[in-house]
């Protein structure tokens, strides 16, 4: 399950200050270092396309990030929007139109000049329904065509048929194409360009000689000459090559590898703190599920879900399973999401006694160490998770042990992923599932499909015709309200309430947020790993290699 990048944000702020801070920080490190050199790391799969408009996979996204020039960049460290090819922008009050003022004197990597016409061309291509661009889909909020208007060589405005929430943030994903270049999408505006590609093996990126950015001393960016990308799906091999010094960074490490590396060379590993990724447990509340009625009654009971949540020792999950590289989670938004996290949310403390009280008030009772419901059924249920994911299997076993303390017997079942998904989305033949969400997006609009009760991805009880509970009805209303509001504070107010409802109702019992773990060789200078993707090379244009 993935919440895809579908973002919108509040109106443009001045971000030049933030940029300046970064510039200084990086310049301080790099000033003494020579330019040039090669950065090497692994892509975990073959990029499916080099066309930035068609990107739908992580590897293609990485190429786009390194080669594409965008109008607005979401700073991966500050999580703020920053001007890139656009000097400034303005979103209209109705949220349907955005106008850009562009930099001048900028050239594509093949020397073709960049102008407002290229922006208009890119948007037209992007929104062409025949292209089926996943990036384009994020802009599609209503039926009708998108109008682009080139006002001058440096001014362009784009009008959408319906308001698009968080419109400006979406442009982080839109790499501008040249209308006139004969090299089509291979003519780029980003710091690097694709120089060589061996299918299944490697990709070499070279510095774009026409890249517009310079450092404080007036030196042209990027500092690096090239980036060597190896296509390597095997994580063990990746780790081994890192240890041998054949690659310079690993973008996301799991906690086990992190500890292994940290034991031998603590200076190369980075724990950037909790990421947006979460792991959660949920009970099947679907009416059409084939599970017994009395079990559905448990799962549909707020008290039951709350008690389970109270009886889970999240600190132990983080400590034992992730060796501390995870934070207990209490709600749908990671504290790493600086703007959207609801600071009023109270941490869920581990309290089996309260949990038992909660259950007893709901008609459950303990008999010979076994919890029974009011009809005398023993409380036994299964938690399924995908086989092969050690962290999830271990969390399930810890939860099994925790719940045994309040008389609940849990069976842990590991299934192959397709079987699990089939049970989760087709047959609804499950009782509880432990899975994670990979969150790539800061904006709650990306989570509409999870929280709306009518959605297929409303996992605990999907595709409801009308909301079956009052709290789901309220969540529907709040999610729609935040999507249509343009005032970010109003949006946040609504979404805070959603987070509070989730905390009260526990439809998802959030367990932990994994920390963003990465490794960067000591020969790389200027690296500042962050929680947002791409964690280690988000500032690739500022990185330098020592001793090369």
């Amino acid at each position: 399950m993935k919440r895809h990048s579908k973002a919108s944000t509040y109106t443009a702020r001045s971000c030049s200050k933030a940029l300046a801070v970064i510039l200084c920080a990086v310049c301080f490190c790099s000033a003494a270092l020579a330019q040039g050199g090669e950065l090497r790391f692994c892509l975990r799969s073959e990029p499916k396309t080099f066309d930035p408009l068609k990107v739908d996979d992580d590897a293609s996204g990485a190429i786009r990030y390194l080669t594409g020039g965008v109008l607005i960049r979401e700073n991966r460290q500050t999580q703020q929007l920053e001007p890139e090819l656009a000097l400034s922008w303005k979103v209209s009050k109705d949220g349907r139109q955005i106008s850009f003022r562009l930099r001048s004197g900028i050239f594509f990597s093949d020397g073709t000049p960049f102008s407002a016409e290229d922006v208009a061309y890119t948007i037209q291509q992007l929104m062409d329904p025949a292209l089926h661009s996943p990036t384009g889909d994020t802009f599609r909020s209503g039926i009708g065509s998108v109008e682009t208007k080139v006002i001058s060589a440096t001014q362009v405005s784009i009008r959408f048929p319906a308001p698009v929430a968080g419109l400006d943030r979406l442009f982080d994903q839109v790499a501008i194409l040249s209308e006139h270049s004969l090299k089509k999408e291979m003519a780029v505006l980003g710091p690097f360009m694709v120089a060589d590609y061996k299918a299944g093996s490697s990709i070499i990126l070279r510095r774009n000689p026409y890249y517009w950015k310079t450092d404080a001393q007036g030196r042209k960016l990027p500092y690096l000459d090239s980036i060597h990308l190896d296509i390597q799906p095997n994580r063990d091999v990746e780790l081994l090559r890192f240890k041998r010094g054949e690659i310079d960074l690993i973008n996301s490490l799991d906690s086990e590898y992190f500890d292994k590396l940290s034991a031998t060379s603590p200076q190369v590993v980075h724990d950037a703190g909790p990421s947006l990724d979460s792991e959660q447990l949920w009970f099947n509340q679907a009416a059409k599920s084939p599970i017994p009625g009395y079990k559905k009654n448990w799962f549909r009971s707020t008290a039951f879900r709350r008690a389970i949540s109270e009886a889970i020792n999240r600190d132990d999950l983080s400590r034992v399973v992730y060796h501390g590289h995870a934070q207990p989670a209490f709600g749908p938004v990671s504290p790493a999401n600086k703007f959207w996290f609801d600071n009023n949310l109270k941490p869920q403390t581990y309290d089996p006694e309260t949990a038992l009280n909660t259950l007893q008030n709901d008609g459950f009772r303990i008999e010979n160490g076994t919890l029974k419901d009011k009809d005398g059924n023993s409380v036994v249920f299964s938690i399924i998770t995908n086989a092969g994911n050690k962290a999830r299997e271990r969390m399930a076993v810890l939860i099994q042990d925790d719940l045994q303390k309040i008389g609940i017997h849990v069976n842990v079942v590991t299934l192959d992923f397709p079987s699990l998904i089939e049970r989760m989305t087709q047959t609804f033949d499950y009782e509880a599932i432990l899975l994670g969400l990979t969150n790539v997006d800061l904006d709650p609009n990306g989570e509409m499909n999870v929280w709306l009760s009518s959605s297929e991805n409303h996992q605990w009880n999907p595709s409801q015709k009308v909301p079956e509970t009052t709290w789901e009805a309220e969540m529907d209303r709040l999610m729609r309200a935040q999507a249509s509001a343009s005032d970010p504070n109003k949006r946040k107010e609504a979404f805070d309430r959603v987070q509070e409802i989730v905390a009260e109702q526990q439809p998802f019992i959030f367990l932990i947020n994994k920390n963003a773990l990465s490794a960067v060789s000591t020969s790389i200078h200027g690296a500042a790993p962050v929680i947002l993707s791409p964690q280690t090379y988000w500032n690739a244009e500022w990185l330098t290699v020592a001793g090369k």
């Binding site: 399924i384 399930a396 069976n411 299934l415 192959d416």
Partner: protein
Amino acid sequence: MSLGQRLACAVLVLVLGASFAANWLAPAGYARQYRDATDAPPSHTHWLGTDELGRDRFARVLYGTRISLLLAPAAALLSTLLAALIGGFAGYAGGAWKRAAMAITDLFLSLPWLFLLITARALLPLNVSPVVSVVVTFLLLGVLGWSSAARVLCASASSLRSSDFVRQARAAGIHGRRLFWMHVLPNLKPVLFAQFWISIPVFILSEANLGILGLGVAEPMPSWGSLLKELEGLVSVGEEPWRLVPLILLVIVVTSFQIVISNQEEVAA
């Protein structure tokens, strides 16, 4: 009984005895999580240290031995018997019987087992106790594991069929089932024993691998399979040699069994 055989017997008795005395030898049990002492090295409280969840490895090895030492040979016996009956009979009967049995065997060998096992898992309820789950798994392994051995047995039985002693026995008026049981099957014994001994470690490991399909032993219960699986990705054997105990135990037990049986064979032959 030779010295080696006595020694092997003693080892087996010791291992089996220890596994059945697990309740006394490791009173804390295999599921107790010492969460403040995870992945600990051997100590006087945990003789083989603890696993990633802080569970006593010694207890897990003992309880795992109990499960696997009972069920893997049982499954191996089941599959060997099936192979003997189907392959042996087909080879002995010859003609249409042989063709039919070999067609079934080939079909069995070519079936996409992964999908069938996934289906089997889908048919099982999710809430099965760990014991039921592991018993069902070994039963499945036993029922499914006969086909390749059946081919070998069919070929052996085929050659036995035209042997002098079978002809002599037929000339003595012995016939049909009696001839098969008394004259053909005993001569398949070496092949059957080989099949049996190969099956045991194979089944122990298969049980562990079936975990990805939601079959096999379920947490928190240990089996040799699940213990061996923990060795996956173990890089620094030198630093944590105690983690190899389940593997060593498996080798010792299988070898001991073989010593005991093979010596009996020599005497018999």
